[in-house]
């Protein structure tokens, strides 16, 4: 694969498809990007790697014109663009493929690919032209999908490819991809990366965001590593191996901590699921959560692991099977206060952003803010908030401040405080460190371990192998809604987790 890569010699300025110079971007007190410079050579694949919250997404948004930088410049295709708008970026051929694809599942492939191609003067959608365009775009990618297929009936990998076909057909020349392989199995990833390589050799330029380091090393021409909003290292992929990237990403600060204080498995599980089934989402799910132990749930994006967590919290119904708490059937899981669920999208599912920190923390434990005569008391609300602010070291001058003023890590602490305040016996966490800085992440991991040490049964649903390794005692793997493998955490490592998930059905 190395033969068709362009030479790594420094090309002149015009040969950069994207050139970012000295860009700084702050959100409130948070330096999302700090004097970042970054170049993508034409016709190459440039991997952008970093931990959650390191600034990767912000950088792609700056290139796409979605965020105006506070200072610094963006040059696209050799043209310096002042006040880059999303429209300018589109005109210069920049296309962003987001993790959730932003496609319309109810429409056909042709409609999805052609919908931004404009309309004819009568305002009608040129259906015939769209189909022709779609056919040629799919051919470019070597795909054999019919343009009239409804998108929803395609596999995740095929949808990912349709998203790329759309970008290519709409004259995309600089394609930014955010975690494009998160939902793909290893076989699909191989085919997908092959297609990307093929397109790059035809002159398209790619920015490839990923934290699957193996892919990065395999496919990228150049690698840029970003940490806490700063570029720590950038250069040809040949200069890096997985370990070096990993060290640079984390700043070598994170040693591979593992949980060593797990309680013994008790005879009776605290919370158990027996033969749970929900439509085509998950089936035959058996899970046992034991006091003092952290159980991990791993799997590709969209495999059903999140829905299993939601079902245990009573947030979605199940068709079959049963949930038992202390051995007794649990009918109304949703109103069971001893179970608490932490959603992963804290901005829309977790927090009332305008509300004060205290209001947000107290939400699930209003019995603790009851004052005289059984009435809610504002001073007690403040006390509860302050107690948790100190306990979880939330960085804020006062708990009366709105949550929206906090950084991602501190917002996440507010959310965790809310779920810990009612002293749950079972805690279900869904990707608890998404968009959180490295320091907060380590602290949140410590917190989850100590919560488990106190005898809480924890279910950790995570997309990140490192996180699973750092917290869990046992890990179950979910493929297409079924648990296909179970391992004790000390039997396996991060690589093995990626392998098991990547194998898909075969596992």
């Amino acid at each position: 694969m190395t033969t068709d890569r362009p030479d790594a010699v420094a090309p002149d300025r015009a040969d950069f498809a994207v050139r970012v110079d000295g860009v700084t971007k702050t959100f409130g007190t948070v330096h999302a990007l700090d004097d970042v410079s970054f170049q993508v050579r034409r016709g190459t694949i440039h991997a952008l790697v970093g931990e959650n919250g390191s600034g990767k997404s912000t950088l792609t948004k700056v290139i796409a014109g979605a965020h105006a930088p506070d200072s610094g410049t963006v040059t696209l295709d050799g043209e310096l663009l002042e006040d880059l708008t999303p429209r300018d970026a589109l005109r210069k051929g920049v296309r962003v493929i987001y993790q959730d694809f932003a496609l319309f599942p109810n429409m056909t492939v042709a409609d999805n690919i052609g919908f931004d191609g404009g309309v004819n003067p009568a305002g009608l959608v040129p259906r015939g032209k769209n189909i022709a365009r779609t056919r040629s775009a799919l051919e470019t990618l070597g795909l054999t999908i019919s343009p009239s297929t409804v998108l929803g009936s395609l596999s995740t990998a095929e949808r990912q490819l349709v998203a790329i076909a759309r970008a290519v057909s709409a004259d995309g020349r600089i394609i930014l991809m955010d975690e494009p392989t998160a939902a793909l199995t290893q076989k699909e990833i191989d085919a997908f990366l092959g297609t990307v390589r093929h397109l790059a050799s035809q002159g398209l330029s790619f920015v490839f965001i990923s934290h699957k380091l193996r892919e990065v090393v395999e496919v990228a021409d150049d690698v840029t590593i970003i940490r806490d909003g700063k570029v720590v290292e950038s250069g040809p992929a040949a200069n890096f191996d997985q370990e070096r990237i990993s060290n640079l990403m984390t700043g070598s600060a994170v040693s591979n901590v593992r949980r060593e204080s797990a309680w013994e498995v008790t005879e009776k599980p605290l919370l158990s699921a027996r033969q749970m089934r929900l439509g085509s989402v998950f089936a035959d799910v058996d899970l046992e959560l034991h006091a003092g132990r952290v159980h991990g749930l791993s799997g590709l994006v969209g495999c059903g692991k999140i829905e299993i967590g939601l079902a245990l919290a009573g947030l979605i119904p199940i068709d079959q099977g049963r949930i038992e708490l202390d051995g007794a059937p649990l009918r109304e899981a949703r109103s069971e206060r001893t179970i608490q669920y932490v959603p992963d999208d804290r901005l829309t599912e977790g927090l009332m952003l305008n509300w004060s920190i205290a209001d947000n923390i107290a939400m699930n434990s209003l019995d603790q803010t009851t004052g005289r005569g059984g009435l809610q008391s504002v001073p007690k609300l403040g006390e509860l908030g302050t107690r948790w602010k100190e306990r979880l070291r939330i960085k804020t001058p006062t708990v009366a401040a709105p949550v929206s003023a906090l950084s991602g890590g501190n917002q996440q602490r507010v959310l965790l405080s809310r779920m810990l305040a009612p002293q749950p016996r079972v805690l279900i966490l869904n990707n608890p460190t998404v968009g959180v800085d490295v320091g907060s992440r380590a602290e949140i991991h410590d917190l989850v371990r100590s919560v488990a040490d106190d005898g809480t049964a924890v279910l950790l649903i995570s997309d990140e192998p490192a996180e699973l390794m750092s917290i869990c005692d046992d890990i179950a793997f979910v493929v297409d809604g079924r648990i296909t493998a179970r391992h004790a955490a000390d039997e396996i490592d991060e690589e093995r987790i990626i392998d098991i998930n990547g194998q898909g059905k075969a596992a």
């Binding site: 947030l315 949703r334 829309t348 599912e349 509300w355 709105p402 929206s404 003023a405």
Partner: protein, 344 residues
């Protein structure tokens, strides 16, 4: 601590100022008729049923909904009271009053529960749902009365003529209900759940708050309050008809908005409905005084309500955005200071 739920204080200050200015102006313009005990009592009596309907709008606004069926429910309750009173006969006495009022309240409760269950279970926006139930309630009332006005036998009139501490009884009923609702929303868990649901029903659901129960309870309360408003209207006219008080819906919405209760939910102080209702009644009195002889005065007041509604919505949005920004900026400043101190 709970400012985000209460909304900007500047709104209340402005509203209070508006009430004072209106009272001052009207007193100056008509010193012999406006600032008199008689006029005050008459204004209180007039505004009471409308102000109670504004509480219905207020509590449903708080949870991010709206109840458009309130006037229909009020009329339905009034008609029920009239018919039950008639059936009990003129000699039923206290028992007759209790039966009539009780059946009206039950009708209100049933109507509210219907709204609540439909909204909570179908999860459709409350505007189409309550528009639908409004038509249903009007249809039922029309069917029962054939669209004719039904009259009572006067046994309820005591409600509208009695006074308590110089205030009409009906106004005192409003004050008690308002105090009760304010207390519930600000001082109980259910109230917290109402605010939470209005601020973001998604977050409330993920936080596993009792969302369905809160919705059903709020609309049930709205139905009962509307029935009380209907009883008050019935007591003062001794008559009930499906088409009575048709302008009250918009005016009740206006009072709730003027009082600073966010139609998107999650923000507002219910007690400010008292100020909103006062401003509303005085404006109405002012319009009547200045345009009373003009044949188009009714339309003029509609026009003024419309302008006022839009202006207050704009102002209130601007105030709360500004307030939120300053609160955020304060925190950031303090954090930066703390960091500067820490690193020094």
């Amino acid at each position: 601590m709970i400012e985000a739920r209460l909304g900007p204080r500047a709104h209340i200050v402005l509203l209070g100022a508006l009430v004072v200015v209106l009272a001052g102006t009207l007193s100056a313009l008509a010193p012999s008729t406006f600032p008199t005990m008689r006029n005050m009592q008459s204004m209180m009596g007039q505004i009471a049923p409308l102000a109670i309907l504004a509480i219905c709008i207020g509590i449903t606004f708080l949870i991010g909904g709206i109840d458009l069926s309130i006037v229909a429910v009020a009329n339905c309750a009034a008609i029920t009271a009239a018919l039950v009173g008639e059936a009990m006969g003129p000699d039923a006495g206290a028992l007759g009053i209790m039966a009539a009022a009780g059946s009206a309240l039950v009708i209100g409760l049933l109507a509210g529960l219907t709204n609540g269950f439909l909204i909570a279970t179908l999860r459709v926006h409350p505007i189409p749902i309550t528009l639908g139930t409004m038509s249903v309630f009007i249809g039922i009332s029309t069917g029962i009365t054939n669209g004719a006005t039904v009259f009572g036998n006067g046994y309820m009139s005591g409600l509208s003529t009695a006074t308590v501490v110089l205030m009409p009884m009906t106004f005192v009923v409003f004050l008690v209900l308002l105090a009760l609702c304010t207390g519930i929303t600000l001082k109980t868990r259910t109230g917290f759940h109402m605010y939470a649901l209005g601020e973001s029903d998604k977050v409330a659901r993920y936080s596993r708050l009792p969302v369905t129960r809160t919705i059903v309870m709020t609309y049930a309360a709205s139905g009962v309050l509307a029935a009380i408003a209907g009883l008050i209207m019935f007591s003062s006219t001794n008559a009930a008809n499906v088409s009575f008080a048709s302008s009250y819906l918009m005016q009740a919405i206006l009072i709730a908005v003027v009082a600073g209760i966010d139609p998107y939910g999650g923000t507002g102080r219910l007690w400010a409905i008292l100020l909103g209702a006062a401003a509303m009644q005085m404006l109405q009195t002012g319009i009547n005084m200045s345009l009373g002889s003009w044949s188009g005065s009714a339309f003029a007041s509609n026009f003024i309500w419309g302008v006022l509604l839009i202006a207050v919505l704009g102002l209130s949005k601007w105030l709360s955005t500004r307030k939120h920004r300053t609160r955020e900026a304060e925190v950031e400043e303090k954090l930066e200071e703390a960091e500067a101190v820490g690193s020094a």
